[in-house]
C-alpha cells in the first residue's frame, strides 16, 4: 500500500480490461490523482465509481476522447494538467485498437482500418509522451507503454495491431535513449494473454479461461510507476513472466 502515494497518473484505454484494473490498483496504492481516458463517457463513469470504492480519497478525472486525432490528445493533456496543477508523474499508454474483427490478413486489410489502428496504437502514444514530458522533466516521471508479443513475432492475422506493437517497442527504445540521463524513464510491458473484451473479440474461437485476469498482471505496472523503479529505463518487461522481478533487480544493480 502507498507505493504510489502522492502520484498523479494518466491512463489511456481505462474504460475496461487492463486499463480499468490499473486505475483501480493504482488508487489502492495511494495515487493522489488519476486521469482516466477512453472513448465512452458512460464506461468511464463506471470505472470512476470502482476507483472511488477502492480508494475514496483518490481524485479521479474522466476524459472522454478519441485518441486518433492530435486535437483530442492536446485536450486530454491540457485538461489533465489543469486538474493536477501542471503535475504528472506517470503516463500509461494502454489504449489499443485491435482493428477489424475477425482479424483479416494483411493482404485483405482495408487501408482506412490500417491507418486508424496505427493512429491510435502508435501515433497517439508518441503525441501523449511528447505533450506530457514537460510536466515530468523537472520532477521526474515514468512512462509505461503497453506492448504485446505480437510486437516481436509476426502472427498471421494480427496485421496492423502487431505492426503497431512492433512500432511501440521501437519507439519506446528510442524515447528511452533520448531521455537517458534525464529523470524521466520509459519502459514497456507485455501483459501477456488476458481475458479482456478486446481479446475475446479478436480470438472468439479460443478459450478465454486460459488467459490471465487483468488483476493478475498489474504488479509490474505498480513497480514501474513507483519510485522503486527510478533507475530503470529502456527495459521491456513481461508481466506474466515469473522472473520479471529478478530482471528488474539485475538492471537495478548494474
Amino acid at each position: 500500500m502507498n507505493r504510489l502515494k502522492g502520484k498523479y497518473i494518466l491512463i489511456t484505454g481505462a474504460s475496461q480490461g487492463l486499463g480499468r484494473q490499473l486505475a483501480i490498483d493504482f488508487a489502492r496504492e495511494g495515487a493522489a490523482g488519476i486521469a482516466i481516458v477512453a472513448r465512452r463517457a458512460d464506461a468511464l463513469e463506471r470505472v470512476a465509481a470502482s476507483i472511488r470504492e477502492a480508494e475514496p480519497k483518490a481524485e479521479v478525472l474522466m476524459i472522454a476522447a478519441d485518441l486518433s486525432s492530435e486535437g483530442e490528445i492536446e485536450r486530454v493533456v491540457a485538461t489533465t494538467l489543469n486538474e493536477f496543477s501542471g503535475r504528472l508523474d506517470v503516463l500509461v499508454n494502454n489504449a489499443s485498437s485491435i482493428g477489424p474483427t475477425p482479424l483479416p490478413y494483411l493482404l485483405d486489410y482495408p487501408l482506412e482500418d490500417f491507418r486508424q489502428v496505427l493512429e491510435t496504437n502508435l501515433t497517439a502514444p508518441f503525441l501523449l509522451i511528447k505533450k506530457a514530458l514537460p510536466a515530468m522533466i523537472e520532477n521526474g516521471g515514468s512512462i509505461i507503454n503497453v506492448t504485446s508479443d505480437a510486437g516481436r513475432v509476426g502472427y498471421p492475422g494480427w496485421g496492423a495491431y502487431g505492426i503497431s506493437k512492433f512500432g511501440i517497442e521501437g519507439m519506446s527504445a528510442t524515447w528511452a535513449a533520448e531521455l537517458e540521463g534525464s529523470r524521466v524513464r520509459v519502459n514497456w510491458v507485455d501483459p501477456g494473454n488476458m481475458n479482456t473484451e478486446m481479446h475475446r473479440a479478436a480470438e472468439p474461437e479460443e478459450d478465454p479461461t486460459e488467459w490471465a485476469d487483468p488483476a493478475a498482471v498489474t504488479e509490474v505496472f505498480i513497480y514501474l510507476a513507483s519510485e522503486e523503479s527510478k533507475n530503470i529505463n529502456g527495459q521491456r518487461f513481461e508481466a506474466q513472466e515469473e522472473n520479471w522481478g529478478r530482471k528488474a533487480e539485475a538492471v537495478h544493480s548494474e
Binding site: 485538461t79 494538467l81 489543469n82 501542471g86 514537460p134
Partner: protein, 348 residues
Amino acid sequence: MSAPFSFTLPPDLAADEPPERRGIARDEVRLLVIDRASGQLEHTRIDHFGEFLRAGDLLVFNSSRTLPASLSGCVEQGPCIEIRLAEHLPDDSWLALLRCQRGDPFSCGLRPKMLVDLGQGLTATIRMRDEHIPRLWQLSFSKSGSELINAFYLVGRPVRYEYVSAPWGLDYYQTVYAREPGSAEMPSAGRAFTWRLLFDLQRRGVETAYIVLHTGLSSYLDEELDAQHPASEEEYFVSERAADKINEAHARGGRVIAVGTTVVRTLESAVDEQKRVQAGHGYTRLHITANHALKAVDGLLTGLHEPEASHLDLLTSFLPAEKIKEAYQEAVRQKYLWHEFGDLNLIL
C-alpha cells in the same frame, strides 16, 4: 501613454507563418543580440544562444499552455459573436473581447444577461463591461474548472491576427515545454526552443526554471486603445523550486535571464526589497518602464515588438530607448521578422 520611441515596421516583416512552414526549424530563427554594457549588436541564430551564456546562468521560462481562446457562438435570436478569452478572474468569471461577426465588430446590441451558446453544452452569460478596459466584457460560463478547460478545447481555436496567413493548428501556438493551460496567446519568446536546444544548454551548465503567467490578449483590435497600453491583470504562479533556483543563481553570481516579457513581469512582481524572489500566486498589473529598477532579472530574450507595443516600455528598463531604437532600425534593415512566429532579440 506613448511608446518610448517610434519606428516604421514594413508590412513584409510580419512573420505570417511558423518557421517550420518557412523551411527552417523552430530553433533556427534569427537572434539579434544587444550587449547591455557596450550597446554592441551581434547577429546570429537562436541555436547559437548558448554561446552567450555561462555555466551557472539561469533561464526562466513561462510554462503556461496556450488555450484555444477564440470561441464562436450565437445569442438566441441575436447576434453571432467571437469570444476572445483574455483573463480568468478570481471569482471564476472571465474577461473577454466580444467581436460581432456581422457589421460593426463592436456594435451589435450586446448587453448584460445575454446567453451565448457555444456548442458542446457550453454557454456563456454576458455580465458587464470591464471597468479598466471597456472593450472587454465579463462573462460567466456554464462549466468551471477542468470541465470548462475541456470544453474550451472542444470548441475553441487559437486566437489569430490578420497578419497570420492561415488558421494554423493549436500545436503551432505552443512552446515545447508548455504545461498547464491558461494563456489567451502563446508566450512566444519561448517558441523557438526545442528539446535539442534545451538539452544543449543543460550540457553547458545553464540551469532552467519555470514559472507560470497566463497571458492576456496583446491587442483589443482598437488602435487607439492599444496605443494607450492599458495594463491587463494577469495571473501568475512562482513555485518554491523556481524561487529557490532564482535566488541561488543570484547568490552564486549567475545571471537570471527571462525568456519573454511575461517572465520579467512575473519576477519583478514577486521580488521583495531585498531582491529575493518569493514563491506564490498572484495577479499583476505591473507596467514596467524606464523608471523601473530591475531587481530579479538580468537579461531578456524576447521577440521583436510592434511600434506601439507596451513591451517597448519594458525594454527600456534594460537599455536606454535610444539604444533599442538603433537595434530595431538595424533589425528592420536586416529584415528580421516580427510577431509570434518571427525572430528574437537577446538583451544581456
